[in-house]
């Protein structure tokens, strides 16, 4: 009897982990920011701990959970609950190696697949079946995964992380402009969708390793699309070139406040109606914003929170400047390249674009 291992791939588990990771990173980052702004610092004993110290310290502890969250929830998405515990353990190894982000991802994938293989192919006597998810799979996975992580992958993972961190620290000004542009550009290309999660996750990972420049790009660039679209609407009113239908204006009114909180998804319904033009304009604006922020050395210790975390950044003025520059670029481009329309006309209900669904079937 040949059992078949279920297909899970790598992408869905990583996306799952990001979903679980985000609230942790946001809460921890804000704790650090609030603590630091009120004069707190990280402390190691209860003696003389102030409230700001408590917030900063807790935020730091939360960031310490990051590798375990990545590894744990990747393994959970691959192997379901039996994968969770060994996944968390692999994350602890990643912390031990000083390779939080990369180590967490590799450890999670490793633990997940070991657990999945055991679940699928390991058969035990009936009486031991209850012990499988409880004891056998987690323990065997932790032993196998742990030994591989420490003795086989540990060295290379630490080396790569150290090299990557050194590389980013040593970027010169023009390289920073280029990388800042790329991170901003890709980070906003689908407004918080699956593509933009990749550079965003890398920024979060670097933050976990103490490099906060890319995180600044991520936070600022995410606000550019909604701000840019809003400003484009105002400019279009001023120059009497209507580019948005009534219904879209309503959406802009929703997208702007969402944008303040760094949620760029509000732009999606507006972008959908004129996808290519809008994406070109917003992504370019995000790139400009990222390039300025990164090149001028702005850093963000907080991964999320929108305009409210700008005061917590290392150079708030640079942050505001980058944000405004990106917003203006997006807005001006939108007004220039979007077609003039009759705003009173209801947008015609467009037929769906044809997609190839031939690969779909029931299983």
């Amino acid at each position: 009897m040949a059992k078949k291992m279920k297909k899970v791939g790598i992408k869905a588990p990583i996306l799952t982990a990001i979903g679980y990771l985000l609230p942790l990173v946001v809460a921890s980052g804000l704790l650090i920011a609030i603590g630091n702004l009120t004069g707190g610092s990280t402390v190691t004993t209860l003696d003389g701990m102030t409230v700001p110290d408590a917030l900063t310290t807790l935020g730091g502890l939360g960031m310490g959970l990051l590798p375990s969250f990545i590894a744990g929830y990747i393994a959970y998405a691959i192997a379901d609950r039996p994968g969770l515990a060994p996944g968390f353990l692999m994350g602890q190894i990643a912390s031990f190696l000083g390779a939080g982000f990369l180590g967490g991802m590799i450890g999670g994938i490793l633990a997940g697949y070991i657990a999945l293989v055991l679940e699928t192919y390991l058969s035990v006597p009936k009486w031991a079946e209850a012990l499988m998810p409880m004891m056998i799979i987690p323990t065997l996975t932790a032993i196998a995964g742990g030994l591989i992580m420490f003795f086989v992958l540990g060295g290379p993972i630490s080396a790569i992380t150290t090299a990557l961190n050194a590389f980013i620290k040593n970027l010169d000004q023009s390289q920073k402009v280029a990388y800042g542009f790329i991170i901003g550009f890709i980070g906003c290309i689908d407004y918080g969708g699956a593509i933009s999660k990749v550079p965003n996750l890398i920024c979060d990972g670097l933050l976990a390793d103490g490099i906060m420049g890319p995180e600044g790009i991520k936070v600022l660039a995410a606000m550019v699309p909604p701000f840019g679209v809003s400003l484009a609407y105002l400019i279009s009113k001023a120059v009497h070139k209507p580019i948005y239908y009534k219904e879209e204006v309503e959406n802009i009114k929703v997208a702007f406040p969402m944008g303040l909180c760094m949620i760029s998804e509000g732009v999606i319904p507006i972008a959908m109606n004129d996808l290519i033009r809008t994406v070109i304009c917003t992504a370019t604006g995000c790139g400009v914003c990222g390039a300025i922020s990164f090149a001028l050395g702005n850093e963000s210790p907080v991964p999320s929170g929108g305009v409210f975390v700008i005061p917590a950044m290392s150079k708030p003025l640079v942050a505001v400047f980058a944000l405004l520059a990106g917003t203006c670029v997006t807005a001006v481009m939108l007004v220039l390249i979007k077609k003039r329309i009759d705003p009173e006309m209801e947008r015609k209900v467009e037929e769906e674009e044809n997609v190839d669904l031939s690969g779909l079937s029931f299983s």
Binding site: A12, L15, T16, L360, S361, F362, S363
Partner: protein, 105 residues
Amino acid sequence: MKIVGVCACCSGIAHTYMARKAIVDAANEAGDEIHMETQGTIGVEDELTSEQIEQADCILLCVDVHIEGTTRFKDKKVMKIPTDLAIKAPKQIIKKIHEELGKRA
């Protein structure tokens, strides 16, 4: 036709609910009965009941991530698509479901 399913995206705040709305609207337009559960950051909402699952002709999963409770759909016909496809082409997906189920009948 009775369709039930789950929507879940990566961050669980936007695409999940956009996909749900698109699919539900398209199915209603085609005259189908549909129940979609969402698994967002907030947790499970509009959880499917066991009767709904039992009576359903098929299961439609619009998911980018690992979801809870897939064992509920063990003996059902399941179609799995990414959320962006559900948002982009909901009518074609519903039509495709009709075609696929028609073929088997």
